[in-house]
Symmetry: C2
Subunit: 355 residues, 2 copies
Amino acid sequence: MRYAVILAGGRGERLWPMSTPSRPKQLLALDGETTLVARTLDRIAPLVRLDESLAMTSESLRETIASELRLVPAERIVGEPVGRNTAPAIALAARILTRSDPDALLVVLPADHVIGGDSEFRETMAIAIEAAEAERALVTIGVRPTRAETEYGYVRVGDSSATEGVLGVRSFHEKPDRATAEEFVRAGEYLWNSGMFVWRGDRFLEEIERHLPDVARALRRVSARPGEPAFRTEVRHYYDAVPSVSVDYGVMEKADSVLVVPARFTWDDVGAWPALSRVWGADGSGNTVRGDALLVDAKGCVVYSEEGTVAVLGMSDVVVARTGDATLVCSKDRARDVRLIVEELKRRGAIKGDR
Amino acid sequence: MRYAVILAGGRGERLWPMSTPSRPKQLLALDGETTLVARTLDRIAPLVRLDESLAMTSESLRETIASELRLVPAERIVGEPVGRNTAPAIALAARILTRSDPDALLVVLPADHVIGGDSEFRETMAIAIEAAEAERALVTIGVRPTRAETEYGYVRVGDSSATEGVLGVRSFHEKPDRATAEEFVRAGEYLWNSGMFVWRGDRFLEEIERHLPDVARALRRVSARPGEPAFRTEVRHYYDAVPSVSVDYGVMEKADSVLVVPARFTWDDVGAWPALSRVWGADGSGNTVRGDALLVDAKGCVVYSEEGTVAVLGMSDVVVARTGDATLVCSKDRARDVRLIVEELKRRGAIKGDR
């Protein structure tokens, strides 16, 4: 069987103050209707077994995420006591799923990406599923780059694999500098690593044994199933024991038989405020506005107001966001550093942490 | 006798949203304690007869201003049904005061300036009073320019007058362009026209007869005294009849025997947001902060928060102001245009007008 593994542990730092630790990006309804995490599950639903799928999130968000994913039983929303990045979370999901179904196939999806084209998404995923099953490969979804983004990982594609629409992977490149990113875009044989993966649980656990033995060791002590009394205690011990490591760095870059499927859908990870001008669109002056705002001689701005009028006068390329209790004003080229603000506010006790 | 005439009709546009039509600058306590209008009266109090002084404000602010000026009887807070700039307001005050005291001397003070040095202020005013009484002159207070301000009027000083510390006036220059303003500052013989004036009521009314006959004609129909039943109706008719004209343009530039007293005190009209960095001071990065704010890589900013945390990241020379229901983000060099925002919000009905 195939199962969704929704990674819903995002901490809500980069879109602060619209997102916060208690309302991170996956819980935002950027389309005004449905939260990103609910859309993520809806989109994959026809391809997976929902009632045994899993979502991995922080302990403090478990109930909120559960209420967004009503078709997944509440005990299968796994609360992480501490964040340990993606590799331990996916490994735990693989352990849980393979113990009840040795042939379990995992479709791993971050809960906070914006995707355009649901049927194209499922087409792409169906190809990835075929390759993961037929070739026992670790399959990642690659997105054709539309700009020289320096914050993403890139996948250099190789030759076609045995499955149609699937390519080999020559190498991974994490966050290149600007010149390298431009070179990658020009070269045409690099794709963004989207963070969406498809693989058999047992295959992934083989790679965990090989490349992350600490994780594998901790994993063997998790034997309860979700909903059983010992489960939450075992999960807590597991997270205490594992290192923090991404699946890209800890597994993908070292694993055998990695394949990539070029996405047929549009994709944005909404990694910082300026991404919202892509998601929400911009007017003729390049301004993106949500909420009650008044712009005079403004260009290339992203303006968001949950409360009260936001007036912007004589400004270019800034982000202005106002919520009930906070306001952010930030130049677009520093938008990635909004986490510095969140960290400082946490230090001051002005906002709470995320676990 | 000497009387204060407090001009408290400011409309609250330039420091929006800290100031609003219902809380214009004269009603702000920029020092955290006392409103500017109350400070204005306190400062001049030792030199004037308070219980027959006058304040001119808009009809809608009359009660609020009265509660700030408790030593002036409420009926002497005159509510203007429409704004007609300074000449008609001062002329009406002169009419009221000279009818009960033919020798009335008026000390005309805008209610929304920030002044440093109360005893130096009174020294200066005592000199102006002496010149106005002894020389029957129209006396203006001049401020030595500290920057090439293009928004002020300049007074070119002449020879010393008969009164010590008082100079003649060669000419007035309204809002020069940048190059001319720089020339004025370099030349050393120009002072800013502060908008504070001292003169006998009868002398001022002579000049009104001569230069603003429409005002003089309307004035003759005001015969009731403040507090008498007919007074408010007569005031309403008066304002309906007079043109809108400033005392500088309508009277001072044309009048005989104009003198100027160089101020011994520090002065700021707080004409726009950037002025607050002078009034409140700035830190080593040139930032001025009032309220709960967090600045990261910010330079030369003015940040004001009445509510909630305001975070500013990677910005230079901007104004950020947040109140209960509005937020302003504005480049400092466009701060004078904040009134465009206020006008647009009035058009939309989002904020009420001021009369």
